[in-house]
Amino acid sequence: MKEKNFDKNKQQEPFDLEKRLTAYYGPPLQEQPLSSSSWQNLRLRLDSQEDVGRGGRFHWPLPRKRSRADVPPSIQDALARIAYEARIPYIPSMLRCQLALRVQEPTVHGSWLGKRTIRLLLPVNAVTTMGQAELDVLLATGLARSICARKPTYILGRLLLAGVVLLAGIMLTLFWTHHLPLVGFSIALMLCASVAGLLHMQARSIAFHADTLIVLWLGREPVCSGLHALANRSRAPRRRRWGEPSLVERIGRVCGTRMEARENQLTLIG
């Protein structure tokens, strides 16, 4: 049955479905070893937890998070060491690490509310290419920001701002019922814009506060090395995001050097 049939007179023979199908698929093939790069590709996918077809089951289109067990041991060790320096109990579940193919530069977020978690987003190749100083600064940044954001003054500020947003909602409703929707909308918009601006300022303040903590934990020189390495990796080290100082700003504050210094390679990297 597994014999190949390549007879020239096949079409003259009586029709045999079994033979046709067996010929279509062919005999069992000899083992087909793949190159070592194939394993490397697979290994990359094991790390990145890239998605593959899963039998038609429905999955919410949310980014997949790495579980605690998936976080590379080197990253877990680094966080444990930083937590020890910061006199904070190290809980492995506090770190969520995600490797993404489309991400160009590593980013970190520390939670502001609820359970203290650090979300680390890394490019796929970062695990192998990232230096210890960069990793330490990233992890310490996430940890320090989540600590700073929980300070009573910042929490009070956020509560007040939430109250302002509520007030804006109430005013909008009131003006709407009094047939003055445009006035109500303008006031609500102004209030919300002010809240967004104040939140932005608060987030920057938290970020700078956190940098001070990082220097206390890791020492100024390693932090500078890490920040410079991150700036070198970044495509736009001067770019500011909402609530986030640029890397150049952070370097200026922490290391006392400016962008010109970096461009002239006058960094503090040893």
Binding site: K2, K4, F6, K8, K10, Q11, F15, L17, R20, L21, T22, A23, Y24, Y25, G26, P28, L29, Q30, E31, Q32, P33, L34, S38, W39, N41, L42, R43, R45, L46, E50, V52, G53, R54, G55, G56, A69, D70
Partner: protein, 187 residues
């Protein structure tokens, strides 16, 4: 060997990629051969093989301790191959001489087939492929596993998670349909 494999599986279950690499080295060539026989395209077969190992890596915590690794892996591979082929509609892609040569390199070298023989082979395959494209997905799956993986009806039932009776009836219906389609095509 079995004990060694059990240890490797145990380590890989706990996230040891080095242990999983040993499992890959021991089984990937057989998996690749099985995938290539099913889909006839080397690049797709490699993608299927990698995907199957990725699924196996994720499924290791559910692996039944003490049972052999390869049959489990092959069940994953077959399921994944069939899903991938359906998703990519490989049955609708035209066969070329290159594909036949690519999928059966040893055969073409050993038997010294001439160009005309190969072309005839491609034509016959195209005819079967065209008929397979007219079956429904379930029928295509049972045919692929029966003739492309040489599985018994019981094994097919295990791979696809269907009752054996369902496999038998779908296989019979698929054969009947193919007989009609290929007979009509041959005339």
């Amino acid at each position: 060997m079995a004990t060694c494999e059990t240890e490797l599986i145990e380590s890989a279950t706990h996230g040891d990629q080095e242990a999983f690499r040993h499992l890959w080295e021991a089984h990937h060539a057989a998996a690749m051969a099985a995938a290539l026989r099913l889909c006839h395209q080397r690049a797709l077969a490699e993608e299927i093989t990698q995907g199957a190992f990725l699924l196996a890596w994720r499924g290791l915590p559910r692996f039944q301790k003490g049972s052999p690794f390869r049959p489990w892996l092959m069940r994953i591979l077959y399921r994944h191959a069939l899903d991938t082929m359906e998703k990519q509609r490989t049955y609708l892609q035209p066969l070329s001489l290159d594909v036949v040569l690519e999928s059966e390199v040893p055969l073409s070298l050993d038997s010294h087939m001439e160009q005309a023989d190969l072309q005839e082979q491609v034509a016959l395959r195209e005819e079967v492929q065209h008929a397979l494209a007219q079956l429904n997905a379930e029928q295509r799956k049972v045919i692929a596993l029966r003739y492309g993986a040489d599985l018994t009806e019981v094994d097919i039932a295990q791979v696809l998670g269907w009752p054996v009776g369902t496999v038998k009836s779908r296989l019979n219906r698929a054969r009947e349909r193919l007989r009609v389609l290929l007979n009509d095509g041959g005339r």
